[in-house]
Symmetry: C2
């Protein structure tokens, strides 16, 4: 975490190379892009932030991670994201061509109440840009992601960096981005390596499961 | 469901052979018993009810199923528990020698908010007497039970009738009673057949996971 502040970008001030890159791609392909998360500098604070870019290349929504991760296993590992970042205070729901998307970042997936709020606000899909660690990763991308989808009868996606990102490498589990459907079914999944995966989101499945059950 | 009313027992009035049997066993063994659920007749209504019996053989708590199951898959199966039963209105938390237990019955496991309420009321274990069906069984005893335990950092148990019970046999999945720990770990699990399974509940694991994470 020590070097993260030096990578922080000023999104609102327009000084964000990451957002510029996502914006170019979104506009060129005329697609909605839910970005990964970057350190955002704003009013002297740092946030862990994900931007959603519309097909016109403009920022449609910006989610600041609500639940900062902390772990303290004496003699093993101690890490407090709140030493560096400030927690966001707002839910993020964005309407797109494919439906209404709620955004959470990584540890936000750990909290069933966030997913329940997104369902109550009409979300069809919750996207959780993430980076999984060895101690809780498997629980998060598998159990938690599936239960958020099944409990709330909607789609849930995680996207996580593939192998060869250059930080925390001994502590991270790379990859495992996936898309889960409202029955808990795996619709698309990446392995550890960089990959493009395509999953179809059939919104009629949401209506079906909500009606049937 | 058609014949269920004829099996209904008057628990409050003392006319319950099932509770008498559980009471005898609890008193003889000096143990707490969380019973399965039976149709309870009370004031002209039927409830799906689970009794918790203390080591003295007395009823310590009585849970009436809160969330009645309903399924409607046109051309396949239609079933509405609410055609027969009235839903309970109360949470059930009971203090026992091993800790504080919250009770849910079967479809109650489907609702994360119930487990969250039990956690907020200090439960160490949630017991869900259940009977799993083919369409949702696997999701319930596996995904849902684990996520209730992990989300709320407590223990979760399901107990479900073994094979050879004589109703709904083509539609049910028998067995799969299990005990899950606060990390999502399977501490004990039965197969399809009648079995005695023993799992240890180490309450210090709850404190560990809540402190560590």
């Amino acid at each position: 975490m020590g070097t993260l502040p030096s990578y922080a970008e000023d999104i609102d001030g327009g000084g964000s190379p990451s957002v510029s890159m996502l914006s170019e791609v979104a506009a060129a392909r005329k697609i909605t892009v839910v970005g990964g998360s970057i350190p955002e500098r704003s009013s002297g604070q740092l946030f862990n932030t994900c931007c959603v870019i519309g097909p016109d290349g403009q920022i449609k929504a910006k989610h600041r991670k609500l639940h900062l991760f902390g772990i303290d296993i004496p003699g093993d590992i101690t890490f407090r994201e709140s030493d560096t970042f400030t927690a966001g205070q707002e839910l993020t729901v964005v309407d797109t061509d494919m439906g209404r998307i709620g955004i959470g970042i990584c540890h936000d997936i750990r909290f069933p109440e966030l997913a329940m709020l997104y369902r109550s606000r009409g979300a069809h899909l919750i996207c959780y840009p993430s980076a999984f660690n060895m101690s809780t990763g498997k629980l998060l991308w598998d159990l938690m992601q599936k239960s958020r989808a099944v409990d709330n009868q909607l789609f849930a996606a995680t996207c996580s960096p593939a192998r060869d990102t250059n930080s925390h490498s001994e502590y991270m589990i790379w990859g495992h981005s996936s898309l889960i459907g409202p029955f808990g079914e795996v619709l698309a999944a990446a392995g550890h390596e960089e990959a493009t995966v395509i999953g179809e989101i059939d919104l009629s499945l949401i209506e079906a499961v909500r009606y049937n059950m």
